[in-house]
Symmetry: C2
Subunit: 449 residues, 2 copies
């Protein structure tokens, strides 16, 4: 399946696009490895390297049957640095993406993007629009700063940004970490924003084997949220707070938390029924800090939890029935702020409709509501220390939840959330730009409505 706006450029199948991407990445990584190691400089973020791949081949490029194309690599030195920071060796990167065929994912989403995943499950390739690629380039210095201060982040890991240019048309692609390992069966999937306006999965989405549900679905399905051990809950909220601050500083909104839930207990039963099923014992991811648990807490290389024997980097959690879960999360869709202008009309309709629950607001408001929703509603701090249960590994049955722990969790969670607010407020007040006042008044207006 190729969306209409991409179809004309690679007319045969998406295999031509995949082939061009693989030729291009092979070349760019090869040529990069010949450049000497040196520090990344500020101007490296703006470099674009370009190479032409004629069908008949050249002294630099092999012959191929994808039609003449040009391959552009954005900020090659900067992305090399990012990959190094994430422990990705050039050979591994090239091998994963180029030596085995890419798998096209069917869930292209509302954006009309194409998604490919590398066969080893490490990398996602996503087509991005012109404005998104441009925005990512602008983001790179801030991204660099964040990575250096804060390797634990739920933000997308950007490993590369490229453009395939064919017949005068451009297809831009970003290579990112894969949030949901395909070896792990996701029993539930959510795309959460902290908004309730039109945040319910469509009838069409619900027909899928594993639909991506939304905020209203979550509130309905899991009113008690996902229960995490205190240390994991605190680490998660801290990480979200830092990530949201960065997103807010770039005036980014409309991002989501993608949540994949693997139910360990359910998987055990299924496995018993289905014989050898796809349990949570999939392949270990190789990049550093790229799994959910590493993104918030665990030491790299020490992420196997005793309780679940999980080596896929899921965050151990429980549902209200006490069933053991592995939760895979990441912040997605951070490059789409430019759509704001388009959505303004929708925003006003929404404002009239349900006041402060509108999805499109000013960045500070969006960030705060997002954090509140995640740390008060979606994730809850488990008052019980679950470490004793680690010894009960054989017993796969559900663990009873202590009565009354629900309400007390609520209180804890909301108090920790108010503790976060001053930080965002400080950011707003030290913000010297003229629109900070405008922000505030609009936020206040929205809250009063």
């Amino acid at each position: 399946f190729i969306p209409d706006h991409i179809f004309p450029f690679f007319q045969t199948t998406s295999s031509a696009l995949k082939g061009a991407i693989q030729l291009g990445i092979t070349h760019t990584i090869g040529s990069l490895s010949q450049k000497p190691e040196r520090d990344v400089l500020l101007q490296d973020f703006e470099v674009v390297e370009s190479i032409f791949f004629p069908c008949e081949g050249s002294n630099l490029t092999p012959a191929h049957h994808y039609g003449d194309f040009r391959f552009k690599t954005y900020a090659p030195m900067a992305f090399r640095y990012f990959r190094e920071m994430f422990g990705i060796r050039p050979d591994d990167y090239m091998y994963s993406l180029c030596n085995e065929s890419l798998i096209e994912l069917s869930n292209s989403g509302a954006s009309g993007s194409l998604f490919y995943v590398s066969r080893d499950d490490e990398y996602i390739i996503k087509t991005v629009q012109h404005k998104e690629a441009e925005f990512l380039q602008k983001l790179l210095p801030g991204y660099f700063m964040n990575l250096n201060q804060n390797k634990r982040t739920l933000l997308p890991k950007f490993y590369g940004l490229y453009c395939v240019q064919s017949a005068g048309k451009n297809i831009r692609i970003a290579v990112m970490n894969n949030l949901l390992p395909s070896a792990v069966r996701m029993h539930l999937k959510y795309d959460l924003k902290g908004s309730t306006y039109k945040r319910r999965a469509s009838a069409k989405e619900r027909e899928k084997a594993v639909p991506t549900y939304k905020d209203l679905d979550f509130i309905q399905d899991m009113p008690e949220g996902l229960s995490l051990d205190a240390d994991k809950y605190n680490a998660l909220c801290k990480t979200l707070q830092r990530d949201c601050l960065l997103l807010q500083s770039f005036k980014i909104m409309d991002y989501s938390l993608l949540v994949g839930i693997h139910n360990v207990d359910q998987a055990c039963q299924e496995q018993a029924n289905e014989e050898a099923g796809a349990g949570a014992k999939g392949q270990v991811q190789k990049a550093l800090y790229s799994t959910a648990i590493e993104a918030i807490q665990a030491e790299v290389g020490h992420m196997g939890s005793m309780e679940t024997e999980d080596r896929t980097g899921g965050i151990p959690a429980r549902n209200s029935k006490g069933e053991r879960l592995l939760v895979y999360i990441g912040i997605i869709d951070i490059l789409q702020s430019y759509r704001l202008a388009k959505k303004l009309e929708h925003s006003w309709k929404a404002l009239v409709h349900d006041g402060d629950t509108v999805s499109v607001h000013r960045p500070g408001f969006y960030a705060e509501r997002f954090q509140k929703f995640m740390c008060n509603t979606v994730f809850r701090k488990n008052a019980l220390k679950t470490s004793p249960s680690k010894k009960r590994r054989a017993g796969a049955g559900p663990v009873k939840r202590a009565a009354g722990s629900g309400p007390s969790l609520m209180t804890q969670a909301s108090s920790s959330s108010t503790a976060q607010s001053p930080l965002l407020q400080h950011q707003a007040s030290s913000d010297t730009r003229e629109d900070s006042e405008a922000d505030k008044s609009e936020d206040e207006r929205a809250q009063k409505l």
Copy 2:
């Protein structure tokens, strides 16, 4: 002594300026400590905080007798991060700068800047011009990137940038690391650029107790240069290479290497003559990576060399007589590129005068010549392993140099210097700006002349 352009603002003495600086820094560090820890964001580099200090005091500021003034702090969050990176605690910073009186240095140099040193020898306060302060602010994102990739650097450590505004006039000051610990007697001092044009200390400078000599003086006084152990020589050249690349990327020129030389053997004799002299056993510097040896090589906290029992962070070296030296170095005057326009006329005169030895050239040429001079002429790799001499600690006499090691060192040094060139060339070629071609042709022209 106060230069003319500063005199009118603080009419009494420089003590009013010192007092205002101390009040201002005390306030800004105090108010910063009340702000929560958070990651530094890109826009933090542009923030300027300002507070008014009326003579009669306010609810935020104490009364004082320096005349009404306003104190501005540039990029407070960014500099807090830099200080943290250098292991400087807020209390220590404030105490060193504000709780004891600042010492004014008499060598204000050609720039007309005032210099103060903190009583504990840690910090230098230097007055900088408007354009220099502006340039430093522009430099901060690149400085941040450098610091994160490269803690070992001979570039100035910038700990703070402030402005004292009084009677409508501004005095901008930068707080930096002190390169030459005052507890260590410097027997020789050089300001080196790699140029020979007019690079000789003036007659007036020579009258001083310890004059700051220049390139031509060095070539004359120390034709065999300063001999370093291979590991230290390599570390030094590597550090200079990285630093020069950064400077070049910002089109900075006209910087110098400040070299302070303490002659250990000479000091021993002096000490014998003078009884308790000021030897090389001064106070240990507290900031991380701030001494010369840390800037190129030694582990922080492990910089005491057996041979010299040096705890002041000097780099062990030898002169041609085999005398033991401690060398204190750092790159200075990196903020003055804006003067280029003014100097163009001078540059043309110089070009006519002695061709490729002109001090003012395009940044790439300047950086390469600077590195070549330091790594071929000033510093030489010692072919002899000097570790056996560590056991001879009692014998303070000069160690004989192996005959013939001079010329072979030259060859080694120049081959290692050509190995550095491709890196700079690569930088120039990946540089997408239009003037990179212009750079090259001018460099070539200069080299041909």
